[in-house]
Each structure stands twice: as structure tokens, then as C-alpha cells.
């Protein structure tokens, strides 16, 4: 990746974060913390990895993306809006009555959403089904999914991991947005996950660990996923992230999991993100 390409991604991410804050602020509710932690992953996927076309969002040959941690919809909506799946200005109507931007992703009404999610654990299972369909039909498309670390506590996730290995889904790449925090506090205090790398590997996946905010490392993980094709093993990326990344006072603070900023805090976030955007545009 060239420096210019990296800068372009950083700018897209900054704009995503700005829209996440705008959406959640206007909605007066939502999940900024986790949205900001998976922003860079989604940014990279929608700019450099996914074979998707805003003009033809239902193309059967497209890559699939399932946001298994559906509460981080603002991050996905921002990327889709900025990529032209719909007018990004709709973010101002996030969670409002009549908007197609529901509190959690809704496949039926939002262009570019491959699966309705929100109930944790189900997105990774539906991703498994999509990857199985790809194998059955000998299609080249890949399936990408992002899980939350709190979500890993759902038993269904482990059922899904087991089935992905059983059906040799090397066309499936799951990211763990490993920010270490969930609603009630630290994941390790609420219900520790133990050694996720060892556990996913024991479940038959090939697993790598990266810095989920470093585009070069995200690129490296996806390169490894490409090389993983033919291995017969699904691919797991543990992305070490920070909840609330990009907004100073939200960073690593679990209280911003499901809480919108009031005007004073909103203005601080806007100032920080606008400065970042200006700096990157300059």
C-alpha cells in the first residue's frame, strides 16, 4: 500500500467516524463505541477488498458482508453511504421513524445490507450458510463477517465455528472486533473468553492476530486469507481494537457502548473529527 492509498483509507475512516457521530447524536441513542472500534475494518473491506457494486447491490456474484455485531450498524451505514449505496445524508435520520436506517441492520429495506442482524450470534451462522451456498454453487464470492468480543459468549457462535470448519469453508473470513469491552465492563470481568486464538484454531480455523486500526496489518491479514484459499479451513482474524477509537473521550470507555453524546460532547467529537478530516484532506 502506498502512502497515498493509506491516507485515502484514513480519510474515509475519519469521514465514517464523523457520520457515526452525526447519526448517533441526531438519533439521541445508538452504539458509538463499538461502531468506532470496527470502523477501520469496515473501511478497508468496502474500499479495497469487497467485490460489491453500489449500482447492483444484489448481484449474485458479489462478495457478502454480514455485520454479526449488528448494533454497530452506524459504522456499516456510513461506509455504504459514502460508497454510494444510498445518500449518506440519510445518516441524519438514523433510527428515526420512516428511515431505512434501522437501529440494527435490516436486509429487507436497506440497499447493500446482506443480512438482517442485531441478535448476537446469528450473523456468523448466516455467514456460514452463505459460504456453504458459494461452495455448493462453485461460486468465487467470499463471505466476510465481523463479530464482537462480547458476542463470542453466545453459544451459537461456537456452533457456527464448528460447522464452518466441518464444511471446509475457506471462502469465509470472520473478524473479531476485539476491543475488550462490553456493556457491563471489561469482557474479562463479565465472562472471559480465554485464548481466542487457541480456541478458534482448536475449532479448525486458521487464525491471525492484527492491530485492527492499522491498514497495513488489515491488508496483511486479507492477503493471508487470499493465500488460505484451497486450505479447506475458514479464516479468523483477531483484530485488536479500541472501543470509541477516534473520539478522545470515548476511547476505551465502556460507558459509550450504547449511549449518544449530548450537545457539548457532540461538539467536541465534531471538532476532533473535522480537524482530522481537514488534516487528511490537506
Amino acid at each position: 500500500m502506498t502512502a497515498d492509498e493509506r491516507k485515502e483509507l484514513e480519510l474515509f475512516s475519519a469521514r465514517m467516524r464523523r457520520w457515526i457521530i452525526e447519526g448517533v447524536y441526531n438519533a439521541k441513542c445508538g452504539h458509538p463505541g463499538g461502531s468506532l472500534s470496527c470502523t477501520d475494518l469496515i473501511c478497508y473491506l468496502y474500499n479495497r477488498e469487497l467485490n460489491v457494486d453500489p449500482a447492483d447491490p444484489d448481484n449474485p456474484e458479489r462478495d457478502r458482508f454480514v455485520l454479526s455485531k449488528g448494533h454497530c450498524a452506524p459504522a456499516l451505514y456510513s461506509a455504504l453511504g459514502l460508497r454510494g449505496f444510498f445518500d449518506v445524508e440519510e445518516m441524519k435520520n438514523l433510527r428515526k421513524i420512516g428511515s431505512f436506517l434501522q437501529g440494527h441492520p435490516c436486509k429487507a429495506i436497506t440497499p447493500g445490507i446482506d443480512m438482517s442482524t442485531g441478535s448476537l450470534g446469528q450473523g456468523i451462522s448466516t455467514s456460514v450458510g452463505m459460504a456453504m451456498a458459494g461452495k455448493l454453487d462453485n461460486k468465487d464470492y467470499r463471505v466476510f463477517s465481523i463479530l464482537g468480543d462480547g458476542e463470542m459468549q453466545e453459544g451459537e457462535v461456537w456452533e457456527a465455528l464448528m460447522s464452518a470448519a466441518h464444511y471446509k469453508l475457506d471462502n469465509l473470513c470472520a473478524f473479531l472486533d476485539n476491543n475488550g469491552l462490553q456493556i457491563d465492563g471489561k469482557v474479562d470481568d463479565v465472562m472471559s473468553l480465554g485464548d481466542i486464538k487457541a480456541k478458534t484454531e482448536a475449532f479448525g480455523w486458521n487464525t491471525v492476530v492484527i492491530d485492527g486500526h492499522n491498514f497495513d496489518e488489515i491488508e496483511g491479514a486479507l492477503k493471508a486469507f487470499h493465500e488460505n484459499k484451497g486450505s479447506g479451513k475458514p479464516f479468523f482474524v483477531i483484530a485488536k481494537t479500541h472501543k470509541g477509537r477516534g473520539v478522545s473521550y470515548m476511547t476505551d470507555d465502556p460507558s459509550w457502548h450504547g449511549c449518544a453524546p449530548k450537545e457539548d460532547k457532540y461538539l467536541i467529537a465534531v471538532e476532533e473529527l473535522d480537524a482530522k478530516i481537514k488534516e487528511l484532506e490537506g
Binding site: 449474485p60 457478502r64 454480514v66 435490516c106 436486509k107 429487507a108 446482506d114 443480512m115 438482517s116 442485531g118 441478535s119 450470534g121 446469528q122 451462522s125 448466516t126 455467514s127 456460514v128 450458510g129 452463505m130 459460504a131 456453504m132 451456498a133 458459494g134 455448493l136 454453487d137 453459544g155 451459537e156 456452533e159 457456527a160 464448528m162 460447522s163 466441518h166 464444511y167
Partner: protein, 315 residues
């Protein structure tokens, strides 16, 4: 005519529709019992055993359905409808996907396995879900049509199937049946009372009709194979023409066929109505025949209920 379980009819019908390459079948380690094994024998590449993990099975089927597949999903009714209930709601019904939950071993007639395996709540739960169509066929011939209806019509379906072999009302498996979603089949006309039954209880209700006939009571018998959308027209007609109704289901009296009929009746053409079903209790081990007697689900019980409801009409 020979007896056949509706679950066997399901397996055979899957073989018929399996020539359509969009059809995929999921099972959770019960392919022999649910009869999806019959599909597997012919189309092994499109049969997926997901192990004993029903939640993942249902959601994975939903994922496949987003890729243009018509996904049939099977397990015992207990686990299909209740273990995976939320997956059916959020990953199947909410996105309105082509997933057909065909649940076998429903009701008390599972028998000796006891209460943990006797699913008595599935009709109530499944019919509460938006976008869901709920079918409960009475015999093998109509079960074939129910499965084909699920195959031919877009969207989520729940098809309730039984373990026990049942009498045929519409001929042997493969016979032509005038099966339309949401339209009850009238097995016998009558003037004094209407018995509305579904699934295995149609057989018991048929016996009740004979018992009543011997006593000079003329009972109409409706096979309400579609629980949702319920046939309001047939219910209103029954109310107007026979003046009272008894519902029969191998299910809790809470929220199932009786609930659906009562809702339609009260809103459109109220008349006395009584329900035959499991009276808001868990089942227990026993032979199917012993359990049917213990929980007052036999033809004799239905006939008695009919006499009670006729008395209410006169009161």
C-alpha cells in the same frame, strides 16, 4: 388404504421436489427420524447435517436462502420451533426468507420419550411470527401438498408433522388433494356442531363424528390444515350454519388452533366454542394411545365436548 406418517410423506415429497437444484435440506442429526434421509439418499450434495446445533442450523439455512436457495430445515418440533425459535424469528421471518421449517414428532403422540420431547406449544409460537405461514396436515396425501405449498410459495413456512402413522382422508400418498393454503377441507358436512381439527387430531375427530352420528347428532368436520392464515370464511360459515364449534389439536389449548379459531370467531361471528387440547400442562411417558386417553384427546372426548357445546348453544 394404508397408514402413513406425515413425516414419511415429507421425506418422499422432498425426493419429488429435489430435482429443483434450488432445494437444499438441513437436519440436526435426525435425518432418519425426520425422513430428510430420503432426500439425502437421492441428492446427497444438497443435504447438510449440521449436527446437534439447531440454532446454527436455522440461521445457516437463512444465509443459504439469501443466496437463492429454498431451504428445508428439519428436527423434532421441540427443537426446531423452540430451541431455534429466535433464529426463526430474527434470521428467517424478519428478513422474510425462503426457509421452510418442517418439524416432525410434534405433539403428545411422540409418546414414550416424555414431556421433554412432546412439543405442545409450536403452533402458538410460530403463528405469532410475522411473515410466517403455519401448516399442520392430517394425512400423508395432504402432507405432500403442504410440503409442496411450502416449496412453491415464497417466504417462511412452518409445517407441523407427526411421528405416528395416520389414517388417510384424501387417499394414499400421491393422491390428488384440493389443498389450498388458508382454505379448510371439509371432510364431512353436518348441521348441529362443527368440529375443527388439525394434524393427527383429524383422525380422532373423524371417530367423534361417527360416535355422534350414532346418537343422532350431525357434526361437520373441517380439516384446518392451515393454522395461519386461518380460514375465517369457513369458521364464520360454521358458526352461522351449525351454531357451535369444537376445536381439536394435539397441542396446548393455549394459543394454537383453538386460539386462532376463537380469535376469528369472536371478531366475526361469535357462537359457543369449546377446545379439545392438552390443558396447559406438560405431558409424560406412555404409549401414544395411553396419552391420548390420559389427556382427553380421543374421539370419545371430542364427542363429549361436542355435546357440551351443543348444550351451550341451547342455553
Amino acid at each position: 388404504m394404508s397408514k402413513m406418517a406425515t413425516r414419511e410423506a415429507y421425506g418422499r415429497t422432498l425426493q419429488e421436489i429435489g430435482s429443483d437444484e434450488r432445494v437444499v435440506v438441513f437436519d440436526a442429526d435426525l435425518a432418519g427420524s425426520t425422513n430428510t434421509g430420503k432426500f439425502k439418499a437421492v441428492f446427497p450434495e444438497r443435504h447438510f447435517d449440521m449436527g446437534i446445533a439447531e440454532a446454527n442450523m436455522v440461521a445457516a439455512a437463512a444465509g443459504m436462502a439469501t443466496c437463492g436457495k429454498i431451504a428445508f430445515v428439519s428436527s423434532f418440533a421441540m427443537f426446531a420451533s423452540e430451541r431455534a425459535c429466535e433464529q426463526i424469528r430474527n434470521s428467517v421471518c424478519y428478513p422474510n426468507l425462503n426457509v421452510k421449517v418442517c418439524a416432525t414428532h410434534a405433539g403428545i403422540t411422540v409418546g414414550e420419550d416424555g414431556a421433554s420431547h412432546q412439543c405442545l406449544e409450536d403452533l402458538a409460537i410460530m403463528r405469532a411470527l410475522p411473515n410466517m405461514t403455519v401448516l399442520c396436515p392430517a394425512d400423508a396425501a395432504s402432507a405432500r401438498y403442504a410440503v409442496k405449498a411450502a416449496y412453491e410459495n415464497d417466504g417462511p413456512f412452518y409445517v407441523r408433522l407427526a411421528r405416528l402413522a395416520t389414517d388417510s382422508f384424501y387417499g394414499d400418498f400421491g393422491s390428488e388433494v384440493d389443498f389450498k393454503i388458508g382454505k379448510a377441507l371439509q371432510i364431512k358436512d353436518g348441521t348441529d356442531v362443527t368440529i375443527i381439527a388439525c394434524g393427527y387430531m383429524v383422525e380422532q375427530a373423524y371417530e367423534a363424528v361417527s360416535i355422534l352420528e350414532a346418537e343422532g347428532i350431525s357434526a361437520r368436520l373441517l380439516d384446518m390444515h392451515t393454522i395461519k392464515p386461518i380460514d375465517v370464511e369457513a369458521i364464520v360459515k360454521a358458526s352461522r350454519e351449525t351454531g357451535c364449534i369444537v376445536t381439536c389439536e394435539e397441542h396446548s389449548i393455549v394459543g394454537g388452533l383453538g386460539g386462532a379459531v376463537a380469535e376469528a370467531l369472536v371478531e366475526n361471528a361469535p357462537c359457543p366454542m369449546l377446545r379439545v387440547g392438552v390443558n396447559d400442562v406438560f405431558g409424560r411417558s406412555g404409549t401414544p394411545a395411553e396419552l391420548m386417553a390420559a389427556y382427553h384427546l380421543t374421539g370419545f372426548d371430542i364427542a363429549e365436548k361436542c355435546k357440551q357445546v351443543i348444550a351451550l348453544k341451547k342455553a
